[in-house]
Amino acid sequence: MEEKEIRIGVFICHCGTNIGGSVDVPAVVEYAKHLPNVVHAERNLYTCADDGLTAIKNAIKQHKLNRVIVASCTPRTHEPLFRSTCEEAGLNKYLFEFVNIREHCSWVHMKDTEGATEKTKELVRMGVARATLLEPQEEMKIDVEQSAMVIGGGIAGITAAKTLANQGFDVYLVEKEAVLGGMLRNLYRLFPTGEDSLDSLQPSIAAVEGHEKIKVFSSCELKEVKGYIGNFDVTLLREGKEVNFKVGTIIVATGAMEFEPKGHYGYGKYDHVITQMQLEKLLKDGQLKKSDSVVMIQCVGAKGEEVSYCSRICCMVAIKNAMLIKEINPDADIHILHNDIQAYGAEYEELYNKAREMGIRFIKYTPESPPCVTMDGEKLKVEVYNELFGEQFMLGTDLVVLSTPLVQHQGGVEISKLLRVPLGKDKFFFEAHVKLRPVDFATDGIFLCGTAHGPAEVAESVSQALAAASGAGIPLSRGFVQIEAISVKVDLEACIGCGFCVEMCPYQALDMVDGKLEIIEALCKGCGTCVATCPTGALEQRHYQNNQIISQIKSIFHPVIE
């Protein structure tokens, strides 16, 4: 950058009486005029009003200002406005400096005009010190490859792929099995429509397989993913051979699997103790033997030591399957032993009530005294303490069905390592923010949906898939991502390669490659934690440089008298 004379313009806002009422604004203007590098200072009734903004633009031209300071309210609401005003007058927006003299001064020192005025002067002085060292910045634009990869060909992956493709983007759908469909392939009939699971899924599978924008890679394994948002380099393994392509965004829809209840309630020991998934299969194949009595046990392995969470969907799966058995055999005696029924929402509660009307019986057990399954001759015997009645119940039964939670599978764990995205305590993929970013990863450009995120039913998985497609579609439709110029940069000459900054970065934007620090600017969010860590001056944060902050500190204690 060429050495240029610093010419600062200072605009002090009265904000009606909001600032002017407790700060002697004219005195501050006089003071500002005498600060180093200040060539122009004025006051406005409302700097944010049209005439105030015009005054800024005129002064930039007239006084050849190359730094602008507005002292008024908070940058959190008004900085974008003043920045764009500067830009309109041809001044780089990073050469604008905001001084907050309302929220941080006039409004909190309303009865202390002298104190507030002195403080305002100092705040303006700090602003001038910082503005002097500001540098123009270019916001980085990263071109985005117009395609996406969806990992996992279950209902979530299928939906996400279809939505993106319908919007006109190329999609690579990667599935490790030979066929698409995922877990839904193995289910019998679905709630609430009663459709056959696979039948209902077929149109979606066909739409995806026949879509001109979608390339389906079944029986494929993900080998490597490099790069960052807009520019991911993907390597697949298909029949032992490598396939390479580039995508702009990635959606993780790798699903989950059923927990195997080994050692629970005689599972593996007695033939007629099965899981809900096994029951679905029997129903689907018409292989379920006529059962006059069935006992279902909920939360097997869940809400406890093995799996701490509630698996959300099992209560409804159990109720649905109990009702299907009742359809086949209306006289069947069915008990569901549960630890609170999760019939959340509108339809589920209705179904729960209907099940009770049909004569399916619900017994609440306590985790402290869980049911006990034994063999009594030819029949299974289930003992349970009914909390509500305070009695021990004895149920003879033909079939015991265990409702087990969905859990992460090994494939998911590997994908997490490969993409460097985190898993939570529950081993499911961990989103960027539990509340407001439920389908994003902290890493830009990678999204998640379906049971990879946690147990979910079909509609929930579909909603998540659409949401993930929204996130993944935004950079694709814009064609670029722009990054606020507050990212970090490294002076490699000064860098000693200690690498301590690498682990400090919450976004994995830093990496040591052959002893040299590399910054993936596209990943940097500008927190500056690495800069504070660096034992040398090698790392710097744009717009929050060490020297800028230091000058602010020094200016607090060094009055300038000219």
Binding site: P75, R76, E103, W107, V108, I556, F557
Partner: protein, 140 residues
């Protein structure tokens, strides 16, 4: 002689504590005009060097503020702030300038009152303690 008027430097993060200071203003909570706020994007950016320098320049107290643990806008960058602060705390204690002169507070965007109270308390305390012995203005 003029009454001792402490100078306090406060480092605030853009997302929570700066917004908390804003809210104190919006709610017109009154506090003494002794604090000077320096805004950074994240409390993780606060290099302990800035704090040491503030004291050497003459700050009578330094406030390090950020989002509550778990609320950090940058995933967990404030964990690092907390860890580094432990170093500063020990350092200030060992130097013998009074541990109360350095304070770490997590202030959310709704805690305008907490911000105002923090400033009020600190000013009161520092007025009782007197100027920082590390300040260049104080003769020993």
């Amino acid at each position: 002689m003029k009454e001792f008027d402490p100078k306090i430097v406060a480092f605030c993060c853009n997302w929570c504590s700066y917004a908390g200071a804003d809210l104190a203003g919006v709610s017109r909570m009154q506090y003494p005009p002794n604090v000077r706020i320096i805004k950074v994007m994240c409390s993780g950016r606060i290099d302990p060097l800035f704090v040491l320098m503030s004291f050497l320049e003459g700050a009578d107290a330094v406030l390090v503020t950020g989002c509550h643990i778990g609320d950090c806008h940058y995933i967990d960058a404030n964990h690092k702030t907390k860890n580094r602060f432990e170093f500063l705390k020990e350092m200030i204690a060992e130097l013998g300038i009074g541990e109360e002169r350095l304070r770490l507070e997590w202030i959310s965007a709704t805690e305008g009152e907490k911000f105002a109270d923090m400033v009020k308390e600190t000013v009161e305390k520092i007025k009782k303690m007197g100027p920082s012995p590390l300040s260049p203005k104080v003769m020993q």
